[in-house]
Amino acid sequence: MIKINKAGWIYIILTLLIGFSAVNTGNNLIYIMASALLSYMLVSGIFGRQNLHGLAIELEIPEEIYAGTEIPIGIRLINQRRLMPAFLIRVLIEDRQVLFAYTGAKSEDKSYCTFDFKVRGEHVIGSIYVCSVFPFNFFTRFRKIHQAFRLIVFPKPKKCGDLPAQDRQARIKGDASTLAIGFDSDIISIRDYSSGDPLKYISWKSTAKTGVLKTKELSAIELQQVLIDFDRMDKRDLEHSLSCVTFLVLKFIRSNIPVGLVIQGEHFKPAVSKSHKINLLRKLALYDQN
């Protein structure tokens, strides 16, 4: 695809004018000028065309993309040509564009572009073009990159005040002391000091009272598990509910609380791993979408 720029139109008119002058003056030097202008037009076409060949685009999409949040996507321009560098390549992705001033032969260059996906779900970035005005800004050539990039946009996390049960439950079921001895929570007993005990656990108060070095024994915290049953949630405002659940999932996992999900009859056991989180978020993102 080719678009003639304003400068290009002027160049064409100038060439025609000089060609007309050459014919009507019979002056061979003006013929030389007209010939050179035509020749330059041809050569610029060849170079411009060549400049868009052998180029590939790769997108570096972050793993977690939330609706309504700006994220930077890395655009990598790969010049696969053996000899010719790529000059002034503009990559058009959807309604955004990035300029690569120079990419050497057999090398690549990276630039970032901010995207903001408004809605959750699967998105396909398919409309990718490379274009360039090289060499003379007379014509802009476009080439479509026949490559599509799929990405899943998670629902926008939203802190919700209207989910009291879950919230309170979470708070209640959250951190809880266990009888196991650890170093996390409340004091459960005081015993005699044995070598190797950390100094910060020495109970100076008891030591002072008894005259013998005493060590505090603290309870360990056991993490409560949370299971969110999305299927039983109020879905009158589906997007809102999804956002709330997304927020909870993120919050629990950030707090290291295993979280599970029941969604569309599918049961995800509580866990805190990253892959688990992504799985849950994907499920939420694709809820009710074909």
Binding site: A7, I32, A36, Y40, V43, L88, A101
Partner: protein, 637 residues
């Protein structure tokens, strides 16, 4: 990092300066001066931004310049004022804060300046200006494309070189490519605006009147008057006939204009065909090797005295083909004796007395011999300075001064012959020329201008050429003909010759001839193929050498194109293959080295691998030192 806008600025100045140089000769002083002042001001302001001149001020100045230049325009003086205005406008444009549009306008105006220069001169210097402007503009336009995308963009020096290389590449393809368009672009035999062309009209000198005693600038002029493509011939045959002068008034010779249509008996002698490229010189006579028989040119008139002319003065370079016969004699059976014996009444009794003494009782042939002998033995000297300038210059020359140029020698002989009753006339033209072996043509300069005599001898039934100047003692000035500078001029003229022959004189008729040739070649391809076969057979012996060179070239390019680490790895594997170890596909280097049985070899190979990987896997570039040491280690394997 280098700012694109700075590079663009430098290139724009270069384009402007070259454009100015191309029209410099034709500009009025005030235009040149304004341009230079504005250029210096714009250069100063681009480095020290102390003030910014408002656009309306610049526009007002531009309009004023356009008005002043428009007032100077006339039909005779059209191109120069336009060029003057244009160059000043370019300089004003340089003063402005420049956007993409301003730069584009400057380049367009520079193209118009170059076109303007081509209307005023067809010299080969155009090619120089054109190439320089093409080179600078190409580079500037590439940077302008960058500038248009992001005006504040800056690039690394290494990238700058790459862009420069690209522009060179574009130029090296586009400029020769324009030759194809030059050949095929449509042409017409009747251009409408040909009056705009004034190329090379400046030369003058050769006139149709010879005034004795007047110092003619022509003999000091080293410009080329014409070139004649022909085989080399003997020096004494090189007389280029131009005009015949038959009317003498005592101090000057003219062409009486009495002409009859060419009706002589055919010429005899060796036929010599020349293609003459005559420069515009402001007169209507054509020059051709003595004695011209036919000229292939429209509207040409060959008179009975064998002078050839066009109806109008020659104001543009022309090309014509002449057929001449190298002969000393112009056969003529019906001479108008009154015309060729005409003398002013009471002309120099002293010369009359001399002629009478010399010729008493002698036949025509003896008279001619006696007068020539008199000039030969009379200690006459060839000189272009201090010529006799009295009321009777011929008497002065013959009896007192005894020094003069060819006009004096020829006039004396013709006058003395006429006084002795032998019809005589002067022939003006050129003598000699410098043969260019490379181009196969004679270059004849203005200072080769010459005058000789033709005398009618009834017993020979024709006019014979007599050149009394040959009997003169030549001044040392003629030595310059053999100088180094002349050789150099000849060499340079070869380019000029080809320039005029193939570029300037390429016209509709030649385009048509070329098309016909191509058509003929297509219609009768068998002949060409046969010829081609013969040629191929002749060159068959070179084929293996060419193939070998091609293969070597390919290998060399492949080797150069490979990355240094690939080359190292290949060498390493090759070396070990010779020792019986072949690296399996997908086998790691360390794994491969560990497989070697010989301990010594294994340790060395592992050292190479360790060194290689320490650079390769850290994404470092192999320095020259690294490559050298690794190569040495691999050699030791």
């Amino acid at each position: 990092m280098i700012k694109i806008s700075r590079i663009l600025q430098i290139l724009t100045y270069l384009v402007v300066v070259v454009s100015y140089a191309s029209v410099f000769h034709y500009l009025e002083h005030y235009h040149s001066l304004s341009f230079l002042l504005l250029l210096i001001l714009s250069l100063y302001l681009s480095f020290h931004r102390i003030i910014r001149i408002p656009r309306w001020v610049l526009n007002a100045i531009s309009i004023a310049i356009l008005v002043i230049s428009a007032l100077a325009i006339s039909t005779e003086y059209l191109v120069e004022p336009v060029l003057g205005a244009l160059i000043v406008l370019v300089a004003i444009k340089l003063l402005e804060e420049k956007t993409f549009r301003d730069y584009a306008q400057i380049f367009a105006m520079c193209i118009f300046l170059l076109i303007g220069s081509s209307l005023l001169s067809l010299s080969i210097a155009f090619l120089g200006y054109f190439s320089l402007i093409a080179l600078f503009s190409t580079t500037a336009l590439i940077f302008l494309a960058y500038f248009a995308q992001q005006s504040e963009i800056a690039i690394r020096r290494s990238i700058l070189y790459k862009v420069l290389l690209q522009s060179l590449l574009i130029c090296s393809i586009a400029l020769p490519g324009s030759l194809i368009f030059f050949i095929i672009l449509p042409r017409t035999s009747y251009p409408i605006f040909s009056f705009l062309n004034k190329g090379g009209y400046a030369m003058s000198g050769f006139t149709d009147t010879i005034r004795l005693g007047e110092i003619s600038e022509i003999q000091e002029d080293n410009n080329v008057i014409f070139r004649a493509q022909m085989p080399k011939i003997a020096e004494d045959e090189l007389y280029w006939r131009g005009i015949v002068l038959d009317a003498f008034d005592g101090s000057s010779w003219k062409n009486s204009g009495k002409r009859s249509r060419f009706s002589m008996t055919p010429l005899r002698g060796r036929e010599i065909v020349q293609v003459v490229y005559l420069e515009p010189y402001g007169n209507r006579f054509l020059f051709a090797l003595d004695k011209p028989w036919s000229i292939a040119l429209r509207n040409v008139y060959i008179s009975d005295d064998l002078s050839c002319s066009l109806p109008d003065s020659i104001h543009e370079r022309i090309r014509y083909e002449v057929k001449s016969y190298a002969s000393n004699l112009v056969p003529d059976q019906a001479v108008d004796r009154r015309q060729y014996l005409q003398m002013p009444s009471d002309f120099s009794p002293r010369i009359g007395k001399l002629v009478e003494d010399l010729t008493k009782g002698k036949s025509d042939a003896e008279i001619v011999r006696a007068i020539l002998q008199y000039i030969d033995r009379g200690s006459y000297r060839y000189s272009m300075e201090d010529l006799p300038q009295s009321a009777d210059p011929l008497e002065d020359f013959l009896f007192q001064h005894k020094a003069g140029n060819c006009e004096f020698f020829a006039s004396s002989l013709a006058v003395m012959l006429r006084m002795a009753g032998i019809p005589a006339r002067l022939v003006g033209g050129y003598r000699g020329g410098y043969y260019n072996n490379t181009g196969g043509y004679y270059m004849v300069l203005q200072h080769n201008a010459h005058v000789w005599v033709e005398a009618y001898l009834p017993h020979r039934e024709g006019w014979i050429r007599l050149d009394p100047t040959l009997y003169a003692r030549m001044a040392p000035a003629t030595e310059r003909d053999r100088s180094f500078f002349l050789q150099f001029k000849l060499l340079l003229d070869t380019f000029n010759y080809y320039w005029y022959t193939f570029i300037i004189n390429y016209d509709f008729s030649r385009q048509l001839a070329l098309l016909k040739k191509i058509k003929a070649a297509i219609q009768k391809p068998d002949i060409k193929i046969d010829l081609a076969k013969e040629r191929i057979r002749r060159h068959l012996y070179y084929l293996p050498a060419v193939l070998l060179l091609g293969i070597l070239g390919y290998v060399a390019v492949q080797t150069i194109m490979k990355k240094p680490d690939d080359r190292l790895l290949n060498k390493f594997q090759r070396k070990l293959r010779r020792r019986g170890y072949v690296r399996k596909p997908c086998e790691g280097l360390e794994e491969f080295a560990a497989r070697i049985h010989e301990q010594d070899l294994r340790i060395k190979a592992q050292e190479v691998v360790a060194r290689f990987e320490s650079i390769y896997f850290k994404d470092q570039n192999f320095t020259r030192e690294d490559l050298r040491s690794l190569n040495r280690r691999i050699d030791e394997l």
